[in-house]
Amino acid sequence: MSRSLSPTWPNRIFGKLKGLQIYALISAALSLSIVLTIIVTLFVQSGPVLLAENSGLMSTSWNPDKGQFGVLPMLFGSVFVMIIAVSVAFPLGLLAAVYIAETRSSRLRRLIKFFLEMLVGIPSIVYGLIGVAHLNIWVADIFDLQSGRVILTAGILLGIMILPTFLTLTEDAISAIPTKFRENAKSLGLYRHEVFFSVILPQAKTGIAGAGLLALGRALGETMAVMLVIGSLDRLPSPLFNPLSSGQTITSKLGREVAESAFGSVHFSALVFMSLILVSITVILTITSRYLFRKTPENV
């Protein structure tokens, strides 16, 4: 986006254009200040819990009444749910993307892409509804649980949610590789899987990684769907990696408790602090993924 003024324009003619220029300047300043305000607000409001003594931020127990604000169960829950989501979405999405990108019917490809783009737009609350109405009952039946509101359900639901995003971006990355590479490789008598693994994948991998990181960011930041099906239990599961136990992610915690906590309290501040952790992770993921997208083969 860093592009300066077109050289055909005279550099400094003020006077008549002042109005426009001031308007543009104010807009840009406002846009920047919004971002700054959000960051500053989150930092300032995280202050109380960071300054509070014995808040036990890095512990595993969350108990606002006793002044314990351990964020580890939520952090663990977020990561655990994300891992399940990723192990559902990534292999499926990658393979399906290969199929779509390598099909020679452009009509089929356009149709699928259109559906995917529509699916990307489905609001997360609707996924949440599908989670409570179908998925959590199925999980409960299959694993013979009392309630299907467990980490596994949230993970699978989240996997389904990020699937269209990941699929469509991965497909873009793969079909961005020019046909000539495929034709040349196939002329050497390579099978399709050999063409894919030895010629296409090495070139598309940065784009695929970018798609993956973007999808990870989405998965971490997703609130509504997860909140409805995860069961909201502020403890680490036991045993630790038991996907059939209820849990809590950072986002589901925020969604459940922000409205209940008093503004300005240490409790509220602890919630804001969790949000700050979340923002830092997702922003880093997104900016890294943009960097990777930019490094696609054409630009090297």
């Binding site: 020679r104 495929r182 196939k186 002329s187 008598g189 390579l190 050999e194 010629v199």
Partner: protein
């Protein structure tokens, strides 16, 4: 240039070639993109050895024919053909249930040089990477391939360097070497010298002439001079039909048809 013994083994591998008198045979061949007929009713027999040049104006269907000979056109949307095509005595559809076998025997080099974004060494071995080769064998093959394409002297000191850092002409010779190490019985060349420098062009022409003594080469070219220099056999196509075909001596002599003469002498055709 001396003929490498690498190529001599290729004829032992495929004994069925020897009993055939044609490397490529087209009977009633028509090719389509969607409903558009690109070439129609082509009958063509190419000898087991020698260089055949397909010449003719743009859009005559030369490349389309070439791209069907190793079925690479299958990968193109809505491309189809009718009639029979036999390569090395076997029908390309029913005779090669596994298309990779066909493509292994029929090498191809395209107009645009296209090296894979890895080292020169890996590029040469790309087609062979599925065979178990010892390090020494692999190195021999790479050296041999590069020498064949007269590229060895230029790149022998940087085999591990990236192939896309080579000049276009070098890249095209690399593509040729890559196809040759598979020891094909037929080699398809789609205007291989169209986008490269004269020196590389010359090297490729030399190579084509010497290879033509061992295997069958089909080459599309726009360059009449080039056809005159290297071909044994010339096929002149226009508007999807064969106008005339014959030996080089015939095609470039006063005995050829008027149309051919116009095209060859004025590089122009309004048929």
């Amino acid at each position: 240039m001396n003929i490498p013994n690498l190529l001599l083994v290729s004829s032992n591998q495929s004994s069925d070639v020897d009993v055939q008198s044609h490397s490529i045979r087209l009977d009633g061949f028509s090719a389509y993109y969607g409903k558009n007929c690109i070439v129609s009713d082509i009958n063509l027999k190419l000898p087991i050895k020698g260089v055949t040049c397909l010449v003719g104006p743009s859009g005559a269907g030369k490349s389309t024919i070439l791209r069907w000979l190793n079925r690479i056109n299958e990968e193109t949307e809505s491309a189809s053909f009718s009639g029979t095509v036999k390569v090395l005595g076997r029908d390309i559809m029913s005779g090669y249930p596994d298309v990779t076998e066909l493509r292994r025997r029929v090498g191809m080099v395209f107009q645009q040089p296209c090296v894979f974004p890895c080292s020169i060494y890996d590029n040469i071995l790309m087609g062979l990477r599925t065979q178990k080769l010892s390090k020494a064998q692999a190195r021999d093959i790479v050296e041999h391939g590069l020498k064949l394409a007269s590229l060895w002297d230029e790149v022998s000191n940087r085999l591990e360097g990236r192939a896309d850092s080579l000049s276009l002409g070098q890249q095209q010779r690399l593509c040729l070497a890559r196809a040759l190490v598979l020891e094909p019985d037929v080699l398809l060349l789609d205007e291989p010298t169209a986008s490269i420098d004269p020196i590389s062009s010359h090297a490729i022409e030399e190579l084509v002439i010497s290879l033509g003594r061992k295997i069958s080469i089909v080459m599309v070219t726009h360059n009449i001079g080039q056809a005159k220099r290297i071909s044994d056999h010339v096929v002149f196509l226009c508007d999807g039909k064969i106008v005339e075909q014959g030996t080089r001596a015939h095609m470039f002599s006063p005995r050829c048809s008027a149309k051919t003469k116009t095209y060859i002498t004025e590089d122009f055709c309004d048929c």
